[in-house]
Symmetry: D2
Subunit: 347 residues, 4 copies
């Protein structure tokens, strides 16, 4: 019963099969100029229904940092949620790739930021060059608190960003889960909503190592091959990323995986909500379930071998947690066995 | 007939099988704390016969930059060969990871640097803090010109580096080829010769994506998990690197692959040398063959579908190339078909 | 009536005289090796009663960034107040000099941070290398809100910093004002209280361009000449900084200036507090007065030519400001005419 | 007899007087918004006969690094002479300010670079994103070897730079000496010859601390206030730089000073050339004299108290120096006493 993260699970069989198939060809061009990668970019453009540029990189952290580096100067500022991955989970990596930009986290109860919060933060930017230059807004579409931005919310943020001369970056580590949750077209929640650059994650959702920086604003892509190479992120055998991407997108596998994970999360969340002793303080909108458990139950679950993380009670706001309560996160994956969810609920 | 690089070839079947096997386990710990990666580190320590720390990263470029960042401050200088990968093939990546250190390339005819050349460069460091601080020597053990450092040569460089308070980094993108060529123990050409940090490459020699920073000087490893994370180089599913490493080292596969590639290079080099019209200006010591071809022959080979790179005639020194000659590089891989070598030689 | 900042005033006549005197010698050694600078360092060591290293730089921003760079790695974190100069007034300069460290501002009502706040922030650092490494605490001794740390407060922070393996940096842009306010020895509020590195500012208090990084922890000074040079902060004619420092410290000029400025601030603060319509929400402990004015009065003062800054009402906390009120800052300088204070109070 | 550098001498009396005069005004706006600095920019624009933007900074090193940062991305390359100040005298400072760009020094006998040398270097840039992106050419107008670029030479470099999409930066640490030597208008050797950004130095030629980044390409100036602030280079009391600049430019003081220094250099150079035992291997075109002395004479001069630097014999090329010879540099300043030159020549 492992609910620690979606990345504790492995590679989807179809993606593993694609890696093997790619290995049958004797030789490929190196460094991203192979046919598989080219075809993957075309396929992705088809999925999004627009012209775009795709750059595969090693990790989501690298995708975020490199994407931001294309829109944020070293003397710039990025606005994001206080719990955003780029703010608190990437060990100064955005600072490395942008050359020292400032990541400014704003607080909110549900993992999302709203235009008013950024506007309030911008009010403090009244000291000319003594402040950094506001340069980008970054949002995590399936947020770090398990909620999902609506199309309207993204559009509102995009409108503000544009009005203030900032770019809009979307961290899509769980992009598929968001699209599955919203039931919209991928375009709706991305470029049609004003997103300039997307970190398109696949590793959590069934790939082995597949994260891509996707530019809808093609100007941002201009020198990006240099940025990726300099970041130590250009695989010599990029073909194995192209192969994963093709399999991931083929026949909607990516959305199928996401729908399954989201569905399991819904089952778990609803099951937990029925218990008197358990609270679900945040809506379960994708594949993560946040719950407040009595400590006794928590200890029982762990004793039974359930693996999941304690989460920072700060996210709950003041007075959110009683002495004998624990705030925890369960993550559901495309590969989580249904029985595990059932077993947990029984406990 | 593809001799462009060793990385145009794919993944060795045993390594692909290991990836599949790793995928059979339902779940693994993420971010490098899985058992496969731990076992891989132990296995590598066994291969080198010493205590060491191993950190898997995405690319050789990242391995070099991150390894250097642990021994070179931003105000430091690194001495290497003028044609070293870190100097001319990594798009300012060492500068990124070290925070702006200076990479100083010294010239020599055979891809190797010698203590005297570094000492001469150091003579110019007489301006106190107006010069950067000499901090490291970096050598590519199988050099960018196909030669291989001897144990004695590495020891001499190490002695100089130590005497001057500098660390010694080894770029081992083709470490296996060097060990196979020298017929020595891995320890002899690395830590026993004074190497502090090694970029241990496996991708060119049969892995899918497997490069590791290996520290023999354990102090350098202290904060390295932070550096790797910040560099966007920590895979969530590191287990697939651990699996590759275990398979790569099992039963000497890594040396077997290297020996095969080196052997093919020897065959090709000796075959070419027999032609009157072809010169082999650099000794073929590992899996790369450098040759000077008459332009007519070059065109004939290309017309026949042989793929390989022109190389910079500057490496040959002044007067090294006649008007109607071309300087080229052939790289042999563990997977290059013998018939391709024969076919090329026939042409 | 200019209360905008202490740096709108000029250079103290004795310091200007010292610059002229230094200009009478025909030649001096360049780049910090002159006698004036050496003597200034000795004099400063005498003032602090300890061995120390002094490095003159151009600006307070540079002093802070460079001092931090000696104790904080690029993957590190610095804890400071949310309104600290390094957090919000230096346009990512600490990020530049440290190579991308994270500056983490914690909130408090009076411009000071306390151990408990840092301990609470550190609780979130439970994700290993996904968090940056806690590396330093930075405090502004005369805070951005006009308060002054007591010796006991600094000692408590130092104890926590040491316990957590962090260094303690003090931004002393108004160090003289703090020492004058506390009536203690310079040593008491610096190295004896556990400060490792001090940005010793003199420009606001009567110098032309004189800020110094002072290391009490001599290990931090080891490679600092490199850092300063690399930062573009090594004046060729450093002698004119040495001369300023000698004059600034001679016969206690620095404290005399600070006492005068502090005294004027006290006069202004007490005078304002007597008005029914004015509130002084923060204690006036050095040379800055923070006041809440009725908008009508504010407009009257400005019409009369009084120059001062609006300040962010966020510092007052929630509900701190009524609709028709303005939050403002008055800064008093060693050179502010007494009549200006009187004139303002009359208005 | 101090010929070590022009910066061993002090501040010209007229500039010192201007500093005092500026100190008479009670208050000034801070951070570069004062009237003196505005007027200085206008005055400089008049001197150059064009619209321009001027940004005062602390040091020539900062001026170079910051100017380059506006035209060179972190993944870019700068071409300069192998002995250029930015390449070998600034301790990785250009790397800091550009975020890690590569400074590529090309060799030549007289301190100047020519288009053909850059073109040859560019031939090696054939590996796409594995090479950095060629972004700027940087030349030192009065070179580190005492020669001066002609207008035609600068135009030729500018034409190449433009053709290759690169900017042209001029290090004008001794810009006045070049203009005095060429007898041209300042415009001729700068923007009319295609220079985009100029480091305009005044400290060596009579100022106390006055270096300015001057942009002729106004687009480069757009965000430059941020860059300067972030670099820790924005003085709070910038007025004292404005005052120096106004005095420096008033009545042609800057050129008068330079002409005097150049004239002394000519006298010394011609005097030395008359001695049988002394060689002048590089033409004396500005205020620096490079000479090859017999060691016996060298020792005699030093015993007599003459101060000057040994210079790297590498600049002379192979076979340039006999066993018993010394290669040295004498620098003449606006303030060097004529008698010192005479005294040296007598020796």
């Amino acid at each position: 019963m492992n609910f620690a993260s979606d990345n504790v699970y492995g590679v989807h069989p179809k993606i593993m099969a694609a890696l093997e198939a790619a290995n049958r060809d004797a030789t490929h061009k190196s460094y991203g100029y192979d046919d598989l990668t080219k075809r993957a970019e075309e396929k992705l453009a088809g999925v999004f229904g627009c012209d775009l540029r795709m750059f595969c990189v090693a990790t989501g952290t690298a995708a975020n940092g490199l994407a931001l580096s294309a829109m944020v100067p070293p003397y710039g500022a990025v606005f994001c949620h206080a719990e955003a991955h780029i703010a608190v989970d990437e060990c100064n990596s955005p600072e490395l790739f942008t050359g020292g930009a400032k990541i400014i986290g704003v607080h909110s109860g549900n993992g999302k930021i709203a235009p008013a919060q950024i506007e309030r933060a911008l009010k403090g930017f009244n000291k000319g060059e003594h402040d950094p230059k506001p340069a980008a807004v970054s949002i995590t579409v399936t947020t770090e608190l398990g909620t999902v931005y609506s199309v309207a919310e993204v559009k509102a943020l995009s409108a503000l960003a544009k009005a203030k001369g900032m770019g809009l970056h979307m961290d899509g580590a769980r992009f598929a889960n968001a699209v599955a949750a919203l039931g919209c077209a991928p375009a709706d929640i991305s470029w049609k909503a004003g997103v300039d650059a997307l970190s398109f994650g696949a590793t959590k959702n069934g790939a082995m190592f597949l994260e891509a920086v996707v530019f809808f604003d093609l100007k941002l892509a201009e020198d990006f091959t240099y940025r990726r190479m300099r970041g130590g992120q250009l695989f010599s055998k990029t073909r194995y990323q192209g192969a994963q991407m093709l399999a991931y997108l083929a026949d909607g596998l990516w959305l199928e995986n996401a729908r399954r994970a989201n569905g399991l999360a819904k089952t778990l969340s609803e099951g937990l909500a029925k218990k008197n002793s358990v609270r679900i303080p945040l809506p379960t909108q994708a594949n993560e379930v946040f719950a407040v458990l009595p400590r006794a139950l928590h200890e029982k679950l762990q004793a039974a071998g359930a693996v999941y993380y304690d989460w920072s009670p700060e996210c709950l706001g003041p007075g959110g947690l009683a002495e004998d309560e624990v705030f925890v996160r369960f993550v559901l994956s495309f590969a989580t066995p249904e029985e595990d969810v059932e077993a947990l609920l029984k406990l």
